[in-house]
């Protein structure tokens, strides 16, 4: 019986580990089998479908299904047809969504956490409950509510007209918010295209309809991420801040020079989770707009689904899924690189060192805790 290299104390010697190999594999077997079947195998199968001409009938491994190389990827990325335009549109929509949601939800979550973390605050429990509650509700129920709130005669427009303005027809308004109502732009913008979408449209920002989804995402994920920040804040302790205070730093300096740097690991986690979640918007689109109006809420995740299940372009659907996977990885890497540890001044380092030792481990543990939440929340 061979036993492994171990980090545990082995005072009792080998005999105690007898049978552990068998048990170990036995205990992990259910999870391994399920994960293998529903994660590993699907990925391999989809990889094959994405380079095949499978039409959606019978098994993808049947003899009539042929290898067609990168054709499906080409249709989506460079063939110049409708598929490319659709993918370009979806990418544009989701890119703006990510650019708006990720920073906003991070800032909102941090602001809520800082506010709720105050020691003197009365009703902390109430506020935390209120801010966190949207995160536990289902994206379907929330989307239905959103459709009502943002309908032509909905609550949001009622508030806007009470303020004397005229609200847009949110979920039916395809115009980009950065176009400010302009019907068309300069020729060099409208004339050039990337992925079948004109530069003018790329720059137009999310449509009004998509903006309503942006607000929805911030509303539902703010609470989850607030908890992550709270956990980190409470492990900071006051000593570092006191040290800085003695040094004569004011509140703002203390935040930017002391608190924020110490929150970096959490910030990092929140942004990573935010990025991953935001690139997977699906539930809201499926429930709410089905990609409309004018395809301005189409997202790669939803497009991948409709390409396969509605239009029977299974190869293209799978190809889009893989491209989306690649996008998520690339964005995560870029984010890692941007937020990479930078040099800190010696004085600040002095305030921090202590706290940082305590911080890392906890926020990692809580991050894991939050993974399923956030996936759900912003998917």
């Amino acid at each position: 019986m061979t036993t492994s290299t171990t980090r545990l104390p082995r005072r009792r010697g080998r005999s105690l580990h007898r049978g552990q190999a068998a048990s170990g594999w036995l205990f992990t077997a259910p999870i391994l089998i399920i994960l293998g079947l529903f994660l590993l195998v699907p990925v391999l199968m989809a990889a094959w479908v994405s380079v095949s001409d499978w039409s959606g009938r019978g098994s993808p491994f049947a003899s009539g299904v042929n290898f067609i190389g990168a054709t499906n990827y080409g249709q989506v990325l460079w063939a110049g047809g409708l598929s490319e335009t659709d993918f370009g549109t979806a990418l544009k929509n989701n890119l703006w969504y990510v650019l708006l949601v990720v920073p906003t939800q991070t800032i909102v979550a941090m602001a809520l956490a800082l506010a709720v973390n105050r020691r003197m605050l009365r009703g902390r429990g109430f506020f935390r409950t209120a801010f966190y509650f949207p995160s536990v509700t289902s994206s379907v129920a929330i989307t239905v509510l959103w459709l009502f709130l943002f309908s032509t005669t909905g609550a949001v427009n009622a508030v806007i007209s009470a303020l004397g303005a005229h609200g847009p027809n949110w979920f039916n308004e395809p115009r980009g918010i950065f176009h400010f109502g302009a019907a068309s732009g300069p020729a060099f913008l409208t004339g050039n295209t990337t992925l079948g979408v004109s530069w003018w449209d790329w720059l137009g920002g999310p449509s009004v309809a998509m903006s309503a989804f942006v607000i929805l995402a911030v509303f539902t994920t703010g609470g989850t991420f607030m908890l992550l920040f709270l956990a980190a804040l409470q492990n900071l302790g006051g000593d570092v801040e006191e040290a800085a205070m003695m040094d004569g730093a004011n509140a703002r300096q203390r935040f930017f020079r002391v608190t924020l740097p110490q929150l970096r690991p959490t910030l990092f986690t929140v942004i990573t989770l935010g990025l991953i979640g935001c690139w997977q918007v699906f539930d809201q689109i499926y429930t709410g707009t089905k990609g409309g109006p004018s395809k301005t809420t189409l997202t790669p995740a939803y497009l991948s689904y409709t390409a396969a299940f509605d239009d029977q372009q299974w190869g293209q659907g799978a190809a889009i899924a893989f491209i989306l996977f690649a996008i998520i990885i690339v964005f995560t890497i870029i984010q890692r690189w941007v937020l990479a540890e930078k040099k800190v001044s010696k004085r600040r380092m002095g305030w921090i060192t202590d706290a940082e030792k305590r911080d890392g481990r906890v926020s990692e543990a809580v991050a894991v805790d939050a993974v399923p939440n956030t996936n759900r929340g912003s998917r």
Partner: protein
């Protein structure tokens, strides 16, 4: 809300702060209350509107008191639609998935934390890698596999894929590592097998972590949508999320019918809300000591 603002006064009296700090404190409260209203109000509107008539809902979207109270939406849902079936299916799936995850996650978590066996590190690395695969990317391939396995359009097809929960294993592993090994060592010396030790010695000590898994699994599977879209087609297997999503796009009716849809949304939120309020302290106290207690 007035009670809260009332209390701020006493805070003020307690600590004799500089005027600037005082203003800041009041501003913070006002801001927090405004944001809290913003967060709560939509849910109140949801419930209120579900008791309105349709013209009332369109005419007074902001009012929290229906002009004429009606339970028509609820009657329609419960007596004249598939809503009860959706509810039943969601309940079945959620309970099974939660129980399954609790068992499998803790089993695997224990093995990874405590048992010495070749391949442990590989398995662990694999789990971490798996957590990085975004779920939506797997929509099409999961459908293909479920279909190939012959469990398409069945409870098995709905439930089994959801049992794969790498994050849960991770949480359990972290927890088991935090409890002292000496207790098990003693049991081991007494001749207990691995499963006995796990089942009757270690697992009872893992209550806090198990509650975390229960909360996450319950919430996750109750709110799951995509998995049920791709794994079923029969109306008899429709879940709440799928049913209500289809309702939103007009299956039961032409037109808007917001009271009906919002009633459905409100009811499907109740169980999660109950779990949330029961375990509220635990969820929110994640902030007061992470996941360990």
């Amino acid at each position: 809300m007035t009670a809260l603002t009332g209390r701020t006064v006493s805070v003020r009296q307690h600590h004799r702060w500089k005027p600037s700090a005082l203003t800041a404190q009041i501003l913070t409260y006002l801001l927090l209350i405004a944001v809290a209203v913003l967060y709560i109000f939509p849910f109140l509107i949801d419930v209120a509107t579900s008791f309105k008539t349709e013209p009332d809902a369109a005419a007074n979207p902001l009012s929290l008191i229906p002009q004429t109270w009606t339970t028509a939406a609820y009657q329609r849902l419960f007596f004249n639609s598939d809503f009860p079936i959706w509810f039943k299916n969601t309940a079945i799936v959620t309970v099974t998935v939660t129980l399954g995850r609790v068992f499998f996650d803790s089993l695997a978590g224990y093995a990874l934390a405590r048992l010495q066996f070749r391949g442990r590190n590989v398995i662990f690395a694999g789990l971490i890698a798996v957590m990085a695969v975004p779920g939506v990317v797997l929509l099409i391939p999961k459908f293909l596999v479920i279909n190939q396995l012959g469990i398409y359009d069945s409870y098995a097809g709905m439930i089994i894929p959801l049992l794969a929960d790498a994050a849960g294993v991770f949480i359990m592993k972290n927890f088991f590592e935090s409890i002292p090994a000496s207790i098990e060592e003693q049991a081991r010396i007494d001749g207990a097998g691995s499963f006995r030790i796990f089942w009757s010695v270690v697992l009872p000590m893992a209550r806090p972590a198990l509650i975390t898994i229960i909360i996450l699994s319950f919430q996750g599977s109750w709110n799951e949508l995509a998995q049920f879209i791709i794994s079923t087609q029969s109306p008899s297997l429709t879940t709440l999320t799928k049913g209500v999503a289809q309702l939103a796009s007009g299956q039961l009716s032409q037109g808007t019918q917001y009271p009906l849809k919002l009633a459905a949304g409100a009811i499907m939120t109740i169980p999660v809300a109950i779990v949330f309020f029961i375990f509220q302290r635990r969820i929110l106290n994640a902030s007061d000591g992470a996941i360990k207690e």
